[in-house]
């Protein structure tokens, strides 16, 4: 029983990070209808920014987090303006966006290799090596903080999109960009804003990933799991991304312990395929077309 509890807690800790990144994916998918594979690169750079803020500038943790969020938001915005906006203006099919995104992702990874090198950068220990007991299972303080902070960040994001004027514009644009433009929505500004919001989340994810694991050039790989979480939850749906992330985290953890850690991905991905066969648009998805 204690083992089961521990497994679920562990799964939630991992799933919380998946959820945070998945929300960024879903946010962009909801408005541009393509999967932004460059997002992993933005998260990676966010993680590096946090690392250098802490180790070179020696700023307090909160300031490092803020710097990383702002930096990642700026990068995300630039990513859209440089790599996607001209495609968008020419009404290119979403396949072209994805190719551009993959290119950006490879570019960012190799740029870091070339300039910062391939070494693994461990964050300074902010919470120490302390863990606390929760219902008889152990959880690292950092994990607990990361889950809580992630959920708050996602909640604020969701509130902003559901209840503010700008949020309504974003949602309108995500349903039909043409019609929303006719109704006076500045589409370019809205899209820029969405990328900034996704960038802010990327900064948070990057710093948490860095603290939990480390910062290194290919860390964007883990965003594959976030992408899968977004698909499970239904691409484009923010609550779906959260639920998808948590489900994937807990599922992986359970399979590792009770089936076989060797077969973890086999089981997890079989589950994904079966789920998509039964519910092609994921748990909360709205769109069916052009989901890649």
């Amino acid at each position: 029983m204690q083992m089961l509890m521990q497994t679920i807690v562990t799964g939630l800790a991992v799933g919380g990070i998946y959820a945070l990144m998945a929300v960024g994916y879903s946010l962009i998918f909801s408005i541009l209808n393509f999967s932004n594979f460059a997002y992993g690169g933005i998260i990676m750079l966010g993680s590096y920014m946090g690392f250098y803020a802490l180790t070179l500038l020696h700023v307090p943790f909160a300031a490092a987090l803020a710097l990383s969020m702002l930096g990642a938001a700026a990068l995300s915005f630039l990513n859209e303006r440089i790599a996607y906006s001209s495609l968008r203006k020419r009404h290119a099919p979403s396949l072209y966006f994805m190719i551009s995104a993959m290119g950006t992702s490879i570019f960012l990874e190799n740029m870091v290799y070339a300039t910062l090198g391939s070494s693994y950068n461990a964050y300074p220990e902010i919470f120490g090596q302390s863990s606390i007991s929760l219902f008889g299972s152990t959880i690292g303080k950092l994990d607990l903080f990361a889950i809580i902070f992630s959920l708050i960040a996602i909640y604020i994001m969701n509130y902003f999109i559901q209840h503010t004027r700008t949020g309504i514009a974003i949602r309108a644009a995500s349903y039909d960009s043409e019609v929303s433009q006719i109704n006076g929505v500045n589409l370019s500004a809205v899209i820029g804003l969405v990328f900034i919001l996704a960038g802010l989340l990327a900064g948070v994810s990057g710093v948490f990933l860095g603290m939990k694991y480390m910062a290194y050039p290919t860390m964007g790989w883990i965003t594959n799991k976030a992408y899968i979480s977004a698909v499970i939850g239904g691409l484009g749906s923010l609550p779906g991304a959260v639920v998808g992330g948590l489900i994937l985290g807990v599922l992986e953890s359970l399979v590792s312990v009770y089936v076989s850690s060797l077969l973890r991905d086999v089981f997890s991905f079989t589950f994904l395929i079966v789920l998509l066969l039964v519910m092609p648009s994921g748990l909360f998805g709205k769109y069916l077309e052009e989901k890649v």
Binding site: Q6, A13, Y113, S118, S119, Y120, Q129, Y213, L254, S261
Partner: protein, 396 residues
């Protein structure tokens, strides 16, 4: 603005195509007959990871070889000819490894030093064997590098390090005899030949010596979170956790194990040998042990380490550089003694090498397996945040 971007894009694309064409370069270009090139340098290929996760060792390996070749050339070269190192980046990737091997064969090198990864070496040997090209793996400890699946030796493939069974055996023997543990768990990387091989031989020796494997767990390469597996290991009551992975995974695993309150000893293989292990694992790595091929504090190589440090203002990243230099010394010795650069002659000579002086000691090749006989191993431990020499395991 748009036009400009378009232009830049076009230029970039053209550059990319040009690069990729250059990369596939014509391998048929001849470099002249043996008679006319006799005063030309002797080319030695180096298949090495210069970018990517293994580049830390790869860069150091290349620097070590450059330093040695500079010395040999300054002393008059080999058979009156200068040596020339041709190094290509294989990114520690199997596909790239095969491409690099093909390029080096096209460049008509005498022999190839590297790669450092067993998986890459096994893949590369599939093309070098057919081309009768000598390939000498550096830290490739997997047995399958030099022998085929049916047990026959690959005539042109060698290595300068010990093999996984030996390393696994050393680890298990050390755990049983020196650490006196009887209940061990294993956490390995299922995507790596190295990790799988090491864990298999550790388990065999440990069980044969009277120990029990209480948990046998795995993760996939590039995975970062092992808490689920570690929770199970904790539940099984392991006294020792054997983590036969690279430094990144091992450092994270130890840190996460301590987070979960797993109180046991940690043991690993030569993949741990990077300061990053301590940076990533933090305080959790204190007191951990690992088997290594060579130690910075090993008195045999102390002078060489000093020389390297003086030239490059940093310590060599162990153990790759010393094994690459061993390979270079093997090649030079073979060329000098056979007065030939013909690969078949050289390979035959290397198969029967006996007591040849190399950097790490005397090298004797087993003609049946192309593994060096009785290579010494060292056990290192982490003490006050530094790798420290613990004890040495002389060849049986």
């Amino acid at each position: 603005m748009l036009k400009k971007t378009k232009k830049t894009l076009a230029v970039l694309l053209i550059a990319l195509f040009a690069l990729s064409l250059a990369a596939c370069g014509s391998s048929s270009s001849s470099t002249g007959t043996a008679a006319t090139e006799s005063k030309e340098p002797i080319k030695i290929g180096h298949e090495v990871a210069l970018t990517g996760g293994s580049s830390l060792w790869g860069q150091s390996e290349k620097q070590a070889l450059e330093m040695e070749i500079e010395k040999i050339n300054a002393a008059g070269g080999v058979l009156g000819r200068q040596l020339e190192l041709i190094a290509y980046d294989n990114k520690a990737d199997q596909t790239e490894g095969v491409n690099v091997a093909k390029r080096l064969i096209g460049d008509k090198v005498v022999a190839i030093i590297g790669p450092a990864q067993s998986g890459v070496g096994i893949a590369a040997s599939s093309v070098t064997e057919g081309a009768k090209m000598i390939l000498i793996g550096t830290t490739t400890t997997n047995t399958k590098l030099t022998v085929n699946d049916d047990g026959s030796v690959k005539p042109y493939t060698f290595r300068t390090c010990f093999i996984d069974p030996y390393q696994g055996k050393v680890a298990a023997t050390f755990a049983l005899n020196s650490l006196k543990v009887t209940k061990a768990a294993v956490l390995m990387d299922v995507g790596s030949d190295y990790s799988q091989g090491l864990s298999q031989y550790f388990k065999e020796t440990f069980v044969a010596g009277g120990g029990t494997i209480v948990a046998d767990e795995a993760f996939r390469s590039e995975e970062l979170d092992y808490r689920a597996q570690l929770g199970k290991i904790k539940d099984a009551g392991a006294e020792l956790l054997f983590i036969p992975t690279m430094q990144k995974e091992a450092g994270l695993a130890m840190k996460q194990a301590k987070d979960l309150g797993l109180d046991c000893k940690f043991l690993g293989g030569d993949g741990w040998a990077s300061k990053e292990l301590i940076e990533l694992g933090g305080a959790a790595t204190e007191g951990a042990f690992y088997v290594n091929i060579a130690s910075l504090q090993d008195p045999t190589i102390a002078d060489w380490v000093k020389e390297y440090a003086a030239k490059y203002k940093m310590d060599p990243v162990m153990p790759n550089p010393v094994l690459a230099v061993d390979a270079l010394k093997m090649i030079v010795n073979a060329i000098e003694n056979t007065k030939s650069t013909d690969s078949t002659t050289l390979a035959e000579y290397m198969s029967n090498m006996k007591d040849v002086q190399v950097l790490t000691g005397k090298l004797t090749m087993d003609p049946k397996t192309h593994n060096p006989i009785d290579k010494p191993a060292v056990i290192e431990t982490v003490k006050n945040g530094e790798f420290t020499f613990y004890e040495s395991f002389a060849g049986k």
